[in-house]
């Protein structure tokens, strides 16, 4: 394997470029900027200490995210009360769209919602959901890479992502109605 003096340098080159990604994912996982900073720092130290286990040329981002996630589950998850998944089994994929398609088909009400509210709504998703949402929709990682980093099947990535989006859209829609950005659908009798 690599010579003893090499790890420091290669770690800098391979791991440090992913700090922004790790920070954004940590923000969404912890839903708390201070905890997110601690989580990223803990992750980087753990990664550094186990750098020998990293196989050069493989996916450093995925490797780091696995460590971030394990650290979060083991050391951080218990610190906060976790939100629960809504029961979305019966929800059609386009149920929300049905209520806005005549008045706001492009969902422009989303753009009226302030950033803080959007982030708050993401952070109110169950951890399993916001994790997949962060990796896929915010970081743009392919399903396969997410599945590998989280050690779950691709099908699970897809179904969590689907449910995360439905739940998030529902919460944002409710907020937009409450704030008066969009008129509620006339209630069925």
């Amino acid at each position: 394997m690599a010579e003893p003096s090499a790890p420091g340098r290669s770690f800098d080159e391979e791991a440090l470029p992913h700090l922004d990604t790790l920070y954004r994912v940590a923000l969404r996982l912890t839903a708390d900027p201070t905890l997110a900073e601690d989580l990223v720092q803990d992750t980087m130290l753990k990664a550094y200490r186990s750098w020998r286990q990293y196989r050069p040329g493989t996916n450093a981002r995925g490797w780091l995210l696995t460590i971030l996630r394990n650290t979060f589950i083991n050391d951080y998850r218990r610190r906060k009360h976790e939100p629960v998944a809504m029961d979305l089994e019966a929800v059609e994929p386009h149920a929300l769209y049905r209520s806005i398609q005549d008045t706001d088909p492009e969902g422009s009400f989303f753009s009226q919602i302030v950033d803080a509210k959007v982030l708050e709504a993401i952070d109110a998703l169950p951890a399993d959901f916001r994790e997949v949402l962060a990796l896929s929709d915010i970081e743009g990682m392919p399903y396969g890479e997410i599945a590998e980093a989280l050690k779950i099947p691709v099908g699970t990535v897809k179904s969590r992502l689907f449910r995360a989006r439905r739940q998030l859209q529902g919460v944002l829609y409710d907020h937009a109605v409450e704030a008066g950005y969009i008129k509620p659908r006339e209630t069925a009798p």
């Binding site: 420091g8 980087m44 806005i100 896929s136």
Partner: protein, 81 residues
């Protein structure tokens, strides 16, 4: 070529927007969208939702102080060995 109905097209929509479909399925979904205003409207809605997420939550960068703190901790670790 087999034609997808709305349910089938919608079942593939998430993967279509994420560019995770095989080229054959991409074509089939695209053909359906070209012929179905309802599904096209819904696909646009989903697309704008995704774009919204990216622009709202994808901008944060690792704070400089945190980066410096991590680098210092790594250097201390190196010296400690």
């Amino acid at each position: 070529m087999s034609r997808l109905d709305c349910d089938q097209a919608l079942a593939h929509l998430q993967d279509y927007l994420k560019r995770e479909l095989t080229p054959e399925l991409v074509t089939e979904v695209r053909v359906h969208l070209e012929h179905c205003r309802d599904c096209t409207g819904y696909a646009r809605f989903e697309e704008s939702f995704l774009l919204m997420l990216e622009t709202r939550a994808g901008q944060a960068t690792c704070p400089k102080e945190l980066r410096a703190r991590i680098l210092a901790a790594l250097r201390a670790e190196t010296r400690g060995n």
